[in-house]
């Protein structure tokens, strides 16, 4: 789960990490009054859960409350990478001397957490890692042992930051780790961590991702969830319905199946057969008529979809039960597009018979099924 910058800053502040004074605003009026409150120059920042806000014009400096209002008006309602800007964070403008990067995340390959510190902050850290890896210090954290002081020392002295600020940065890193663990983070990032011209060290930006699997024990954070804030409308709808759906958006074939690996493979086979998968959709283990119906409905929300390929491996699930659900679901479809069904497993033959005379086309392998749907859609997409 992602949360907004202003929410992440609230979390940071709770753990004692210094952030610039500021407040979220939902309208140009509010932007002006927050700017008034803060006094002096302010920065107006679009709150959208996507990177590259700055380049997209979503972050602007304002000289006065009036100017802030004007900037707020420009930013609110913008569309950044498909996400509408509904709120902005207004913060006091900071005079920056240095921009650093500090982040904690999971290093999946090392099976450990990792602390990353770099003097090259304020830019895309992955790019820094690729171009100038020597500017980045990484230390792995065994969560049983916890982040130790010597590891922070290594990271700070290896990162190229101004070591006269080592004490402040050390304290912030300690708090960031404490925060990361306490909130079940999968990412806690300060980019940039700035040294101001007055020598203060402040988190100018804040990014927190929370492990979805851990939300059950993070009720306070779960409340911050905005379903759909980082996804498109169909994905948001799928999330509401509890269905694992990913939108690729530029394909003609809707793909669904049971099991993530099987669905991904099905997409690959459809693509190889000359079709273009429009989505990933995993109906999971319980292929009930209700789930299948919801799944069809979701897939058809994208008007680009003009055919569906459904691929089920019946391990414990019986094929006849699935077939029955499919037939019922199809009847309720708002748009009757061609549907190819590939099923294998218990009662495969019965299922096949049941489908005879329905608009649903049965195929016995993934490859022939994919070829069939592509053929029905008129060949190459």
């Amino acid at each position: 789960m992602k949360i907004h910058e202003y929410q992440a800053k609230d979390v940071f502040a709770k753990y004692g990490i210094p952030v610039p004074p500021g407040k979220v605003a939902f309208s140009a009026d509010e932007v002006e009054s927050v700017a008034q409150e803060l006094g002096g120059k302010v920065v107006v920042k679009a709150q959208v859960q996507v990177g590259g806000r700055g380049k997209a014009g979503g972050i602007k400096l304002a000289d006065s409350p009036e100017d802030a209002r004007a900037k707020g008006e420009q930013i609110l309602g913008m569309d950044i990478k498909g996400l509408p800007v509904e709120k902005v964070l207004v913060t006091k403008a900071i005079d920056i001397r240095d921009e650093y990067y500090v982040g904690i995340t999971l290093d999946r390959d090392a099976r450990m957490l990792v602390l990353i510190v770099s003097a090259a902050g304020g830019v895309d850290i992955e790019e820094v890692a690729r171009e100038t890896p020597e500017k980045i210090a990484k230390v792995h954290i065994d969560p049983l042992v916890g982040l130790q002081e010597y590891q922070i020392t290594r990271a700070i002295f290896g990162s190229g930051v101004d070591i006269t600020k080592a004490r402040d940065i050390r304290a912030i890193i300690r708090k960031l780790y404490e925060c990361y663990i306490a909130i079940d983070g999968s990412l806690a990032e300060i980019n940039p961590l700035v040294v101001t011209t007055d020598g203060e060290v402040i988190a100018l930006d804040a990014k927190i991702n929370i492990d979805d699997n851990a939300l059950f024990r993070q009720p306070e954070l779960e409340k911050l969830m905005e379903v759909g804030a980082d996804m498109d409308a169909i994905e948001a709808e799928a999330r509401h319905k509890g269905i694992a759906y990913v939108h690729l958006s530029d394909g003609n074939v809707g793909v669904m199946g049971n099991g993530a690996g099987l669905v991904m493979t099905t997409m690959d086979v459809v693509s190889r057969a000359g079709g273009k998968p429009n989505n990933f959709l995993d109906i999971g283990g319980a292929a009930t008529p209700k789930v299948v119906e919801d799944a069809f409905h979701l897939i058809l929300l994208d008007p680009n979809v003009n055919g569906i390929f459904l691929n089920v491996f019946g391990g414990i699930v019986r094929c006849d039960v699935v077939a029955e659900g499919m037939i019922k679901a199809y009847e309720k479809l708002p748009r009757k597009v061609p549907v190819v069904l590939r099923m294998t497993g218990t009662n495969e033959d019965i299922a096949r018979k049941m489908l005879e005379g329905t608009p649903l086309v049965y195929e016995s392998s993934t490859e022939t099924g994919a070829a069939k749907i592509v053929e029905m859609l008129g060949g190459q997409s």
């Binding site: 999946r108 492990d211 699997n213 024990r217 099991g259 993530a260 690996g261 099987l262 991904m264 493979t265």
Partner: protein, 295 residues
């Protein structure tokens, strides 16, 4: 012959009286698995015997008790995600040699801890969020469908569930039986990955060829590929998710291309560098296995 577990494995089920445990345990027993004990704290001293199960299974309060009383050496964990990390550590700390954790939805930070804990034990953990393993005609630790397996020379390791069944089913139908089939799990942090299992298969005299069913995300396929040139046995690889876009999680938490890492291309390249054929489709896997076995 098989790896990790066989007909002599004395199997314990943690969470035997829960929904998943009581559904799948009879199927494990039906497959021939020697289920010697169950654990549910508070139900120690009772027995568990659903319809169709010939002999009652004794239930214990702790894994320690179960191991002491029944000599259990393998465990299948069906407990809910909140209790699963504790269950894994309990089993490892009680001397269980092979743990299969079926439970899904475990927080990553919990699993990172469990992973670190496991490094200091002699126990092998398969999973979590996995379908388990089948040593063909010997035992099943998990939830795979019983009927798809046939005995034979192929070892199968996979990150998926149904896709594994698909592969196994087509191998069986194509006349290629299996030694042991293992679903390692779809989470970013899993107990045992391809590399360790490749090493096990290399040691197993009955296994003549290994199929790796990989997918996008992480670098476990790449790590495994590096070991293949040291093996005496052929390996056939398959990667699903070639059409998956970066930054989008494809179902399991593990299947995601992020930060430029974990792409299908990178994995295919790694296998090709190891002179390992990469199948384009599941039927292709069967064909390449046959070729590699000279059939």
């Amino acid at each position: 012959m098989a790896i990790l577990a066989d007909k002599n494995s004395r199997v314990l089920v943690q969470g035997i009286t829960g929904g998943e445990g009581s559904f799948h345990t009879p199927r494990m027993i039906e497959y021939g698995t020697n289920v010697v004990a169950g654990v549910t704290p508070g139900k120690g001293g009772s027995t568990w015997q659903p319809e169709g199960v010939a002999n009652p299974v004794p239930v214990f309060d702790t894994v320690e008790d179960a191991v002491e009383e029944t000599g259990a050496d393998a465990s299948v964990i069906f407990v809910p995600k909140r209790f699963a990390p504790d269950a894994v550590m309990e089993a490892a700390d009680s001397g269980i040699e092979v743990i299969v954790a079926i439970s899904d939805g475990i927080p990553i930070n919990d699993m990172v801890k469990v992973y670190s804990f496991m490094q200091h034990t002699m126990t092998t953990l398969i999973g979590p969020n996995c379908p388990g393993l089948v040593s063909v005609d010997e035992c099943k630790l998990g939830i795979m469908p019983n009927h798809i397996f046939k005995p034979g020379p192929v070892g199968v390791i996979s990150r998926s569930g149904t896709l594994t069944y698909e592969v196994v089913n087509q191998l069986s139908e194509g006349g290629l039986g299996q030694t042991t089939c293992i679903g390692v799990g779809g989470d970013p942090i899993i107990g045992t990955s391809f590399l360790e299992l490749l090493m096990e298969f290399e040691q197993d005299s009955a296994t003549e060829c290994v199929v790796i069913v990989g997918e996008i995300g992480g670098s476990d396929e790449e790590d495994a590929a590096e070991f293949i040139p040291e093996m005496s046995k052929p390996v056939v690889a398959f990667i699903s998710g070639r059409t998956a876009p970066p930054g989008k999680r494809m179902g399991h938490a593990g299947a995601i291309v992020s930060g430029g890492k974990g792409t299908a291309e990178s994995k295919i390249k790694a296998f090709e560098a190891a002179n390992t054929p990469v199948a384009d489709t599941v039927p292709d896997i069967v064909r390449l296995c046959k070729e590699s076995l000279g059939k």
